[in-house]
Every structure is written in C-alpha cells, then in structure tokens.
Amino acid sequence: MFGLTRKDSKLMLIVFGLVMLAPFILNPFPEGSAMAQFNAGYPDLMQRFVIFGIFAVGFNLLFGLTGYLSFGHAAFLGIGSYAAIWSMKLVTLNVIPGILVSIVVAGAFALVVGFVSLRRSGIYFSILTLAFAQMMFAMAYSVLTPITGGETGLQIKNTDTPLFGGPADGGIGRANLFGAEMGNSYELSLGNHLFTFNLGYYIAGVFLLIAFYVSIRIFRSPFGIMLRAVKSNQQRMNYTGLTPKRYTLSAFVISGMYAGLAGGLMVAMDTQVGPERMFWTASGEVVIMTILGGAGTLMGPVLGAGVIKYMENIISKINKDILHEWFAFMPDGFEDVIVALVYPFIGKGWHLTMGILFMMVVIFLPGGLVEGGQRIAKLFRRNKTSDTQDATSRTPAE
C-alpha cells in the first residue's frame, strides 16, 4: 500500500485507526463517573497529542537516525507559529496557507541554523543548537517585539484585516478551513458516554498521518540508511566517498519543517503565540518525549508525546481530595500514609514522575517504551513457542 511493505502498511493502518477513532478510545469512561477525569478525549488535549506527536516524529528523524542531539528544536516550532499567525493576520484566515507558510519558513531557518551547527558534532552540536535557540528566544522576547509581540505574544485581533475572507462585521476573525471553523465540533452521546468530534483535531490528525507516512518512507529509503550510517560510523562513511554533511543537513531541515508544521498547527488550533514556546525547556520536552517513547523507532515518538501530554493534562489535575476518595476503603491511618506517599508524584508533582520515568528509561531501556513493549511481547512469545524454537534452532543455518 502506497509503496510500504506489508508490515509497515499494518503499522500505518493501526496509526490511522488510532487517530480516527481517538475520540472513542480516549474516552473510555462514562460521563460523570469517578473515572471520568481520566478521559482524555476532549478536543484541546487530542489536538495536543497529535501536534506534539508530529513534533516528536520530526525530532526523531534527526536524533533517532543520525544521533545528533539538538537541544534547540523548539525554536523552529516557535518560528512556524509566528509565520502561521502572520499569514492569518495578513493574508487569509484559512489555515492551509498558514500551515504551508510555517513549514517553509521553519525549513528556511533550519537550513541556516543547521548549516552552521552541523560543522560540529557531539556535545558541541547540542550547545550550538541550544545557543541558536536561546538567541532566537531572547530576540523574540525583546528586540523583535514589533514582529513577535514580545512578552505578550501575538493574537488575532478585530483590527486585523486579512486580504481574503476577513470577518465582515469587524469581529475577531477565527481560523477556518474554507469557512468551517476549527472549533466546530460534533457531539455524539451514546448512553452515558459523550464523544466529541472536533474539526480542528481531524485536520491535525490528517497532518499527523501524512507526517507519519513520510517518516516511514524516510526510515525505509536509501536516504534513511545513509542517516543511520552517519550515526554508526561517520568516518567510514567519509572514506567511502560520501559527504555526511549533505545527509545530516537534509535531515535537520526536514525535522525543522516538521517542527514548523507542529507550530503552524498549534496556531491553527489556538490562534495565539508567545515566545515561551521557544524556550529551551520546550526543546528539552521534545527530547524527553522522543527518548521516552523510543528514539529511532517509528511509533516511539508518538507514544512518548502521548504519555507526556497525558501526564501533563490528566495526572496533574489529581489533587489530595481525589486521592483520599480513592483510598477511602483503607483503614484511616493507613489511608493517610498511602496518600502522603503517593501525593508528591501526582498533581503538581507530575514533573517529578516524568523525570524519574525518563531516567529509568534512559538507564534501563535505551530503546524507550517501544523496546519495553517488545521485550514483554518476546517474553510471552518465548513461553508459548519454546518447543518449536528448540526444533528450529537445532537445524544448522546454511
């Protein structure tokens, strides 16, 4: 299917199914039940899953394949956002041109930054990208205020008059797709369940599918093999007569364009930008997502983005009262002890949980959650097929 092998087609279909049915999958608990707070199927969060999934998939194309650890990727996300919002302010409120502009502009910046940064490798590359990103952040925050809105950022205001299709009545324009607004939702209630199908989410979802498809194709292409060669042995690649810089720079630009796409989508969903999304902690976050899920794997970054955003939005909402409710069945003193033990790790402390989880993954599972899943799967498979495996292992290989 579309030039994919059978296995990749299967993966692609699974992702397609997950994206399309996300409003069902993420809302497993009935409305109003005690577990309803674990429902993640509301448009805002689903959009974030998808957007950060795209961001992480793009980052993975650079880090997972070439091993170049960029600590400044959020800068491209921010630049994409600024480009998109200017496109909406000046040209049209339609999101498609905005997103395309954001991809192109972020790609252009990535070309410049990559061209300079890729002259060095290892930690120097990390520091260079970090320095560029911090410079861009500082400039967006202060000097470039006329373009970036400084600390307050940019929003679409009722004084903005885009060339095409601005609001006629002088109201605040809303991002739309050929007239259909991003915020449009269709709500379906089945029994106690309430499912929300949001137009913005599905647009972002389609972009995720495209991004994911491109990422599979790159992974399987000769270009992808070259990128892996950069990671495993650059010197040998040089001796073979190939120029690693060309490949790494392409990978850097592509991943910058992914970041730009994510930034453009963020603006499309919520028409505002602030410089804080370029700060280096935001770059650190995408690093964490990718590593957590599994760098160098296809599904890993999406998975990691999902886990982090789920924690950020759901786990962080649990407070002490809810904990007491959960453990109410226990004897009094014991309940307090358990709550006191659990409390630092949830609610506002979710960063702590994330940090510990991240460290655990780096220490014990260099392949991320995907590797963890594979190991568990292998464990089960070995138990089941231990007899047949013995038979095959005894036959001489060639």
């Binding site: 300079v116 520091i127 560029f132 911090q134 470039l144 690093v287 402390g349 702590l352 780096v362």
Partner: protein, 343 residues
C-alpha cells in the same frame, strides 16, 4: 571610564559564579569524561543549603512572657529562637545573621556526600555509554532534583539575606579618586568575588602542589597507565567528583544573597555554564575560569545603556553569539587541549 569600571565590577560576581560552576564541570569532564547536565542542580542545592541553614538556625519556640500582655489581656506568647536561648541574645542574633557563611560548613560535607552518591550510584554506569546518554540521564537527574526541591520549598524564590555587616555598598569610586556615589559596589558581591577567587586558587593549588593532585592530573592525561602503576585511579576520580560538587555547592551557598534561590536557578546557570565550558575549551581548567570571568564581564558590558542603544537586545544574546563565533572559528575553544571531545 567610570561606567566601564562599574560594568567590569558588575560582571565579576556573575563571572565568578560561571567560573566556579564551569570549573566543576570541567573537573568532572576532564577526570571522568562525563558531561554532567546535573551540575546546575548541584549549584542550586548549594543555594538551598543556605536556605536550610538559615531556617534551622531560626527555629523558634513559644514562650509566655508574663511581663507583656496581648490585646485581650492574656499573657503574651513570644517567639523565642533556640540559638538565642543557648548562646544568649546578642550572640544568637549574630549567629542567625551569619547563616549564609555558616551554611558553607554545612554545605561542604553535604555536597561531597551528594557527589559521591551521584557518581557511585548513577554516573558510574554511564562511562561506557555514548555522550548523548550521559547528557540525557544527568538532564533527567537535574529535573528530578529540581522537582524534589520544589516539593519541599515551593516554587517561589526564598530571600536569604547576607550578614548585616555586608549589606551596604562600597563606594569604589572614592578609592580611585572619583566623586562619591559614582561607583557603588555591594560588599557582598565583593566578598563573593574574593571568595570564588580563593576557591579557584585552592582547587588549582590542590591539583598542582599535592601528591593527590599530581596523581589526578596524571590520570587525566592517561588513565590506563596510572592504573597500571597500581594506583586506584577510580577512587580518586570519585573524590574529584565530590570536590566538583562541593565547589558548585559553595558557589551556590554564597550566591544565595545575590539572587534568591528558586528551584529553577540551576537550569538557568547550567545552560550558561555549558556555554562557558565550551568557550573556554572542553577539559581545560584555566580556560573554564578565564571564559567564566570573560563572559560575565562581557554580558554586563552588553547591558550598558550606550551599547543597548547601539545594538538593541545585545545584552540578551551576547553570550550565545560569542559562543557560536568561538565554536566556529576556534573549534577547541579558547584554551582547549588537542584531542578532547573531537570526533
């Protein structure tokens, strides 16, 4: 001219902090070959040692004072500090005022212990793994430490005053023959500068003039040969990690009165210190110190009004700009040795 002196002075204290952190980073990198992203967290822990000490010293209990009464006519409850009970009113007050310097005594053993625990418990397992993994795991550790501190101390900065003897400002211009009030420099910043100069000199002297330091330097040059000579170099390197942690720690303790400690300060300083290390040259101790002061002073020069008028926003980006230029023109940094971290 007086403006320039002011900026140099202002740059010195920030530069001292950069230099101390960068020194520790370079020691760890030079001995163990590990890129320690958690070093900023150690600096922050030092600053919180100062907070903890001043909290412990001002632990109080309520005493009923029969001579006074509150507005209801009941005998008044007065907060009494334990230190004042034990050492008398005046001496107790002095001890409380001097909490920050006293915190150094507390911070050194704590930070050495933390350094040992970090190296033996975590970093040891990462020697053979790629630099990217070391960066990631120490970055994760920095997040965890920051969050633990946040859990106990909250997210807001905690003011930790310097001893009252040092709260004023030195009229530095008077000494140089300028008019009064032209060049004012807070005493504490002066103390910080001399303190860090003392620590830096101490570390260098330790490495240069003791047998232990000689062995460590030999180990930095060629670890295997030193090992073959029957010296347990790992043990000494672990000690150096503890020393680097202590240097970061005391740098943090003394910095607490200048910038109120919060759980995020480590990260802020870390990014800049890395830039400093890279500018100075990976693995070069004098380079790290020189680059620390240089960048600190440059940063404060860039925030002079005259410069900002000329190049708006330059104060925000100067350090990164310098780093980019240095890295591209002098790949080894200012004083980097050959063959260190060159792939």
């Amino acid at each position: 001219m007086d403006q320039i002196i002011v900026q140099v002075l202002n740059g010195l204290d920030k530069g001292s902090a950069y230099a101390l952190i960068a020194l520790g980073l370079t020691i760890i990198f030079g001995t163990l070959g590990v890129v320690n992203f958690a070093h900023g967290a150690l600096f922050m822990m030092g600053a919180f040692c100062a907070v903890i000490t001043s909290k412990i010293l001002s632990v109080s209990h309520q005493v009923v004072d029969p001579t006074r009464s509150d507005f209801l006519g009941n005998p008044m409850q007065v907060d009494t500090f334990y230190v004042q009970d034990w050492f008398g009113m005046a001496a107790g007050q002095t001890i409380m005022d001097w909490a920050v310097p006293i915190a150094i005594l507390f911070a050194i053993p704590v930070m050495i212990f933390v350094g040992f625990a970090m190296e033996r418990g975590l970093i040891k397992h990462f020697y053979k793994r790629p630099h990217a993994d070391q960066i990631l795991v120490t970055f994760g550790l920095a997040l965890v430490i920051g969050e633990i501190i946040k859990y106990f101390f909250g997210a807001n900065p905690i003011q930790t005053p310097a001893p009252p003897a040092f709260t004023g400002s030195l009229d530095f211009g008077m000494i140089l023959g300028y008019e009064a009030q032209t060049i004012m420099y807070p005493y504490w910043r002066l103390v910080y500068f001399f303190f860090s100069a003392f620590i830096i000199a101490g570390v260098f002297a330790f490495l240069q003039f003791t047998t232990f330091g000689m062995v460590v330097r030999a180990g930095m040059a060629d670890r295997e040969t030193v090992g073959l000579l029957g010296i347990d170099i790992d043990k000494r390197f672990t000690f150096m990690f503890g020393l680097a942690a202590a240097v970061a720690g005391v740098a943090g303790v003394m910095y607490a009165p200048i910038v109120a400690p919060n759980y995020f300060m480590g990260m802020d300083f870390l990014v800049l210190s890395f830039v400093v290390v890279v500018v100075g040259g990976m693995g070069s101790l004098p380079g790290a110190v020189a680059a620390g002061f240089l960048l600190g002073v440059l940063e404060s020069f860039a925030s002079m009004p005259a410069v900002i008028d000329l190049l708006p926003g330059i104060n925000q980006i100067i350090i990164y700009l310098v780093a980019i230029i240095i890295l591209l023109t002098r790949p080894r940094g200012l004083m980097g040795r050959k063959g260190v971290m060159e792939e």
